[in-house]
């Protein structure tokens, strides 16, 4: 009996009127934990009852403490009939289980009802007394800290980064149980909320156990998702990165940090690692090149996919061919060897982190991703471990082998997602292949990892760009040049990654959000036919998404993408692809070439004219973008660069477009160009911070915006569909800029787009982001004049550019008519400083296409391995798990009831101009809201608007009750909206998570000299992990 949970119900306020006759309510409260229930007295005839109850005490195991949520139900007493429920509050008591975190949860919680929404508030105090438990075979993992933040949390130091942890639990969805036909919607919703709460509590506990086994004490980059598989069940899965963290302020060892149990755990000798196993010798570095157009890793994946399993099982063999990184010299080889051995023993050398301690990331290979299409099947035997785990294991193996092909031993910025439509499910995983510094990965190197990094004397700010693979054995052509920074190592001409821009990376100008958007119609089909159709479409979509990204990147005059996230969504009759990333100009990489269009029928005069017209516009756009984003790389004399370029032929290939999509691509590109000009001073990115802006001021505004569009016409073509989708996204962005105009100059950071296809003709786009103001005038050092100039220029630019896309649309249509699919896209890469047009070296598109085809074949192959799965279920309902609702910290000054304290929310891991002093625990909340009076609640917009506002309110209330004043790394992981206007009904499910923290304004922290705020802001902003 390791714990005693104590709960006190203080008071309620703003309760709804439950008795029409008296316009009052006779409220009482039921407090339930596990199977024990307590009740307060009835407080008669009041909307603001003062219960002031005794302490209700629950004696429980810590396993239950971890799994179960505290459930508080407010009811209206009725003498003659059943008591009416007013609403509920679920409180996750997990935060009370860390010794470092809260000792009390206390505050006003909104009383939530799935049918009526928030109905008043209740004041609750919760405490936990934990006893030390010496039982080593217990099932709980109290004391392991969880962070959603995908970098090392600010007030901690990473002693060891152990690596990947994952877990998955399955259950039947209460919504689809037979009993659902006879119970009320409210009962059904509550059953679902409670089940998910239990499952996520259990999941977290199990992951905690794995972390303890690895001798870690924390999970960073914890990402938990729900798959609502409908009939076939409910899957809750989570991934994260196990770490051993050390609190910065306390010089004491990190172990005591964990409460009671973990300490003992640590001493148990596990048969685990750390003897660096050196099997499969050599630093053979399979070479796969990133760089060109679509991420090569992908194409690689196709080739290798057949032999996938072999590869992954016997890591080094198949890929062979590579000689050790000779260009890197012995050091590099050595490094690789070490890293390799450190990682070798891990099943999956994956890291969900997107930002790293200095020196951790050595080289970046490029994006690796894998997808597979699966058919869902009812879970027959929930306890038999099978399918779902196997599915993911398969995908992870593929990712792992792709990374190896790129000469990398690890995958960073790793994430997984699903898209489900009826019985078809697309599983996706992606990350960035990388070579890591082994020191962080092993035990016994605890000390001085920071100092060590200096010894390594990697060239400042460019090391990560250097290719980790062998240049002589690249599977397909890519342009390698000597690094523009250090001139010693080879770099690719373009770099795609899923991580944040490393802190030490040097960039020129500002970054910008780049999106590729794509729709593909498909026939409605059933089961396997459907799955096959989808698998056939996938490769084309991926290819095109990459082409779009590449072209848009060039149009911006940039050469690298960070934070790349590609989402493929499946619907009844279409597939949608949406890729978002932040483009930047990395100093270390060569200047991107321009884009050239060539006609296939050069004799046609008018056509040529048209082409040249387009060409001019494209060139103008590139020039304008360069100005807008302040990209003005120093000119470098040709000779210096000239020599290292290995084979000129590589640089002078003609890109020949055979893809029907090429004109669409152009259309999209240009419209994109225009939009950005509209934006003007509104910068946006999907990474933590905006490259090139570092003087944030303290105003932040996190928001969620949702749009659902109905596709009107019956004869949809891919083209109209693409245009509709593109317009939807563009308009949404424009609306955001307009709405937030009062914050200008500001930047939208961590822009997170999610697309779903709830019904046949509906497209739902959900955006969550944070707008942060910055000081334009301090920005200056490098950019002052430009900013002002761009301001003045604003209006004119605008108009010009606004017309631009229109013309182009018509243009491209026109061209389409007289020479369908005859346009050529030339990708011209020019050396820096020389006009693109002159120097245009183009690449042979057809070879490109061939490559593509080959990997398309492979994708098909891959995709056809669809299997009917039977799913393992590992959940038992009785073992409840807590609906992770909030983590609580002692509030330093229990705020008076009078005013509501401000709680900031942000998807970023930091708060500009402030220092995070304490992490209080993760917030992970799941809500269902349903209505049968949709019209009365203001239609679908009114309904969802109110619901999202309520979700925010509940998150804030939980954070405040923990004593926190902000949520960082906030994410809305799911927003599933269903409507039935004919029945006047709608239902919505929302899942959000984040880290509750206490922050202190830097200005309050100390009196700071005028320059200091900027300086001190910088490390925080740059996502640096160690902010002291």
């Amino acid at each position: 009996m390791p714990g005693k949970l104590k709960v006190k119900i203080v008071a309620g306020r703003h309760l709804p009127v439950m008795d029409r006759a008296s316009d009052l309510t006779d409220a009482f409260v039921e407090v339930k934990f596990g199977n024990t229930t307590f009740k307060t007295d009835v407080y008669h005839k009041s909307l603001n009852p003062q219960w002031n109850s005794e302490w209700f005490k629950f004696e429980v195991d810590d396993e239950d403490l971890q799994d179960e949520p505290l459930q508080i139900t407010v009811l209206d007493h009725d003498t003659y009939s059943a008591n009416d429920a007013i609403g509920k509050v679920y409180i996750d008591i997990d935060p009370l289980l860390y010794s470092e975190a809260a000792t009390v949860i206390s505050g006003w919680f909104p009383i939530y009802d799935t049918i009526h929404g928030i109905r008043g508030e209740i004041n609750v105090v919760v405490k936990v007394d934990l006893f030390n438990d010496l039982n080593r075979f217990r099932q709980s993992s109290c004391g392991v800290k969880f962070f959603c933040t995908t970098s090392i949390p600010k007030c901690y130091r990473a002693v060891i980064i152990h690596g990947f942890v994952e877990e998955l639990v399955v259950n039947e969805d209460p919504e689809y149980q037979w009993i659902d036909r006879i119970r009320t919607p409210r009962a059904s919703n509550e059953a679902r909320q409670r089940l998910i709460s239990l499952m996520s509590g259990e999941l977290q506990r199990k992951i905690g156990l794995k972390v303890l086994e690895m001798r870690g004490n924390a999970v960073v980059g914890y990402l938990q998702c729900f798959d609502l598989e409908g009939e076939s069940g409910l899957v809750v899965r989570a991934i994260g990165t196990a770490c051993t963290l050390d609190k910065l302020s306390s010089t004491a060892a990190f172990l005591p940090a964990c409460n009671s149990p973990s300490k003992e755990m640590k001493e148990i000798p596990f048969n685990e690692d750390p003897n660096p196993n050196t099997h499969s010798s050599g630093p053979s570095t399979p070479l796969k090149n990133q760089t060109y157009s679509f991420s090569p890793s992908k194409s690689y994946s196709r080739q290798s996919s057949s032999s996938d399993t072999d590869l992954s099982l016997t890591p080094k063999t198949g890929m062979g061919s590579g000689s050790a990184g000779k260009e890197g010299g012995p050091f590099k080889a050595l490094l690789r060897q070490q890293t390799q051995s450190a990682l070798e023993q891990r099943e999956f050398p994956f890291f969900t982190l997107t930002a790293f301690p200095p020196g951790f990331l050595v080289h970046v290979g490029g994006v690796v991703s894998a997808r597979s299409v699966k058919l869902l099947d009812r879970i027959h035997n929930p306890d038999e471990p099978e399918t779902r785990d196997a599915w993911w294991a398969e995908i992870r193996q593929e990712i792992k082998s792709h990374a190896k092909a790129l000469g990398c031993h690890a995958v960073v910025g790793y994430s997984e997602s699903t898209s489900i439509c009826e019985e078809v499910c697309i599983l996706s995983a992606s990350g960035t292949a990388a070579v890591l510094n082994p020191r962080f990965l092993q035990d016994g190197t605890v000390e001085g990892c920071l100092e060590q990094r200096q010894e390594e004397n990697l060239p400042a700010g460019c090391g990560f760009c250097h290719i980790p693979y062998d240049e002589l054995n690249m599977p397909f052509p890519a342009h390698l040049t000597y690094c523009y920074s250090c001139r010693k190592q080879k770099v690719p001409d373009v770099l795609f990654t899923t991580i944040d821009l490393p802190t030490d990376a040097t960039v020129i100008g500002k970054g910008c959000l780049i999106q590729a958007r794509l729709c593909r119609l498909k026939k409605k089909a059933q089961a396997e036919a459907n799955a096959t159709a989808i698998s056939n479409l996938l490769p084309f979509m991926e290819y095109e998404v990459h082409t779009q990204l590449m072209n848009k990147l060039k149009l911006k005059g940039m050469n690298a993408l960070f934070g790349l996230r590609i989402q493929i969504t499946v619907g009844e009759n279409m597939l949608m692809g949406l890729a978002s990333a932040t483009g930047v100009y990395l100093t270390a990489l060569p200047t991107p070439g321009g884009i050239q269009i060539a006609g296939k029928t050069p004799n046609d005069g008018s056509y040529e004219q048209h082409i040249s017209h387009m060409q001019k516009k494209i060139n103008d756009t590139i020039a304008k973008n360069k100005e807008l984003y302040e990209i003005n790389p120093p000119e470098i004399p040709e000779e210096i660069i000239g020599s290292p370029i290995p084979e000129p032929r590589q640089r002078s290939r003609l890109l020949r477009s055979q893809s029907e999509s090429s004109d669409e691509v152009i259309e999209l590109d240009l419209s994109h160009g225009k939009k950005d000009a509209f934006v003007l001073e509104f910068y946006s990115c999907n990474t933590e911070i905006m490259p090139g802006i570092n003087n944030w001021t303290s105003e932040i505004q996190m928001f969620t915006s949702v749009r659902v569009s109905r596709l009107s016409n019956i004869n949809l073509t891919n083209q109209t569909l693409n245009k509709n989708f593109n317009d939807l996204c563009e308009n949404l962005l424009k609306s955001l800029y307009f709405k937030l105009r009062s914050m200008i100059p500001c930047c939208l950071c961590h822009v997170n787009f999610t697309v779903s296809l709830p019904e046949d003709e509906l497209i739902q786009v959900t955006v969550t982001a944070v707008a942060i103001t910055f000081d334009k005038h301090q920005a200056v050092q490098t950019t002052k004049t430009h900013v002002e100039k761009s301001l003045q220029r604003a209006s004119t630019d605008n108009e010009e550019l606004l017309q631009f896309p229109l013309e182009l649309c018509t243009d491209s249509l026109a061209s389409h008519t007289f020479s369908p699919a005859k346009e050529h896209l030339e990708s011209a890469s020019s050396n820096s400083g020389i006009p693109a047009a002159q120097r245009a070296t183009s690449v042979d598109y057809s070879s490109f296409a061939d490559r593509c085809n080959s990997w398309i074949e492979l994708i098909k192959l891959k995709a056809q391995t669809i299997r009917r799965g039977s799913i393992k279920t590992t959940v038992s309902v009785e073992k409840a798990s807590p609906l992770t609702e909030g983590h609580f910290r002692q509030r330093s000054a229990p705020c008076a009831n009078s005013t509501v304290g401000v709680v900031k929310m942000t998807p970023l891991s930091f708060i500009p101009g402030a220092k995070i002093t304490k992490y209080l625990g993760i917030i992970n909340m799941f809500f269902i809201r349903e209505t049968t009076s949709l019209r009365e609640e203001g239609g679908v917009s009114g309904f969802l608007h109110a619901f999202i506002a309520e979700v925010f309110a509940m998150v804030r209330a939980h954070v405040a009750a923990l004593g926190g004043n902000a949520v960082v790394s906030y994410i809305m992981k799911q927003c599933v909206f269903m409507e039935n206007p004919n029945k006047n009904q709608a239902q919505c499910l929302i899942n959000v998570s984040g880290d509750a923290v206490i922050f202190v304004r830097e200005s309050e922290l100390e009196i700071i000299s005028p320059q200091q705020p900027v300086a001190s802001c910088q490390p925080a902003c740059s996502g640096g992990e160690i902010a002291t």
Partner: protein, 368 residues
């Protein structure tokens, strides 16, 4: 392709003051979009009409959700759903309760009942204030009235406490409540020249001096803590006082007293007034008018006609003789003061309570 659903929810609720004003003014979304387009916002920001439409809808939806809370402003402060900085909360409340001059003049002194609510159509047509806005303002009056009607303590103070209004606005509401409660007639044609400001000024003085609450030395706006003035009721006129006012009748009924009063005033003002002869000729009429008004205030009907009577019996005669404001001031000062020299008159305190207020009211009302 049409947007079925289009929402934006910020962690801090976005409030656009301009859109709020349009919403308060009762414009439909489409009208509001039209007005915003005309304001040139599209040119300034480079937005499109679609963006503006979506933005306006969003704000309207937010305001609609906030409206329920605005009905009981303290709830707005304590609710958890909308995170709004305190300054913005104050602005929302203040603007929501602000009313139009044109509208309030139509409603002032009327019973805040369903009957009046039915007349809002006409008022809307007459004043040019949209019906929606009229309804909101009317409902505000009614809601404030209902809450404070039965309360003890300072009227304006109560309003401020329960509706979190600024000092100025709370006083205006006090006047509205006072007028509605006493049903003073303000709609007659000859009263049209009076502004809401004039009437609110009078109401404030009457609340200070003529209500039961005025009897102790209650400060004009005591703190909301009611302990000190247990019997302070500001909404009704002091019945006892009105009853006592009958005693003043002697000033005009007793011919000697009237003559003496007249001679005292005339002696003092001779040479100081531009319209001395007219004053001298009219003295008895004016005095009779003022005193009769006082003595009739026991009848509800006459209370209602107070302002009509003041205008008919005093302001109009003076105006027709072209008295200047300064003449009126000198006259009223002297007229009130001289009574203290009338030995046979024993109700000096009563007279002062009546005349101090009346004098200020008349002076404020004496304009074109």
């Amino acid at each position: 392709m049409t947007n079925e659903l289009d929402i934006f929810v910020g962690n801090t609720t976005l409030i656009d003051e301009d859109v709020y004003r349009l919403w308060l003014d009762g414009y439909s979304v489409n009208d509001a979009v039209g007005l915003r387009v005309r304001s040139g916002i599209l040119e300034q920001t480079g937005a499109t009409a679609g963006v503006l439409q979506s933005d306006t809808m969003d704000h309207y939806r937010t305001f609609h959700m906030l409206e329920r809370l605005l009905h009981t402003p303290p709830k707005l402060l304590h609710q958890l759903v909308f995170q709004i900085p305190p300054s913005r909360q104050a602005l929302l409340i203040e603007r929501y309760y602000t009313f139009d001059e044109a509208f309030v003049r139509e409603v002032l002194g009327k019973k805040l009942s369903k009957g009046t609510k039915k007349d809002l159509d006409d008022i809307s047509t007459k004043t040019g204030v949209t019906l929606k806005s009229c309804r909101r303002q009317f409902d505000n009056f009614k809601r404030v009235f209902k809450v404070v009607e039965e309360m003890r303590g300072s009227l304006a103070g109560n309003i401020q406490q329960h509706f979190l209004l600024s000092d100025r606005l709370a006083r205006d509401y006090a006047a509205v409540v006072f007028f509605a409660n006493n049903r003073f007639e303000t709609g007659k044609k000859k009263l049209q020249y009076l502004t809401f400001g004039d009437l609110a000024f009078c109401a404030e003085l009457m609340i200070q001096n003529w209500t039961p609450g005025a009897v102790g030395e209650a400060p004009p706006f005591p703190s909301p803590s009611l302990d000190s003035q247990v019997d302070d009721m500001d909404v009704d006129l002091d019945k006892e006082f009105l009853q006592d006012l009958k005693e003043l009748k002697v000033l005009v009924a007793d011919k000697d007293l009237l003559d003496l009063h007249k001679s005292l005033v005339c002696t003092a003002l001779r040479g100081k007034l531009s319209i001395f002869p007219e004053m001298e000729a009219n003295f008895k009429n004016l005095s009779r008018g003022l005193v009769n008004i006082a003595s009739k205030l026991t009848h509800t009907k006459d209370v209602r006609d107070l302002f009509v009577d003041l205008v008919e019996k005093f302001i109009e005669p003076c105006r027709s003789d072209r008295w200047l404001l300064n003449d009126v001031r000198l006259f009223l000062n002297q007229y009130s003061a001289s009574v203290h020299s009338l030995d046979g008159f024993r109700h000096q305190a009563l007279w002062d309570r009546y005349m101090v207020t009346l004098r200020s009211c008349l002076l404020r009302m004496y304009h074109d």
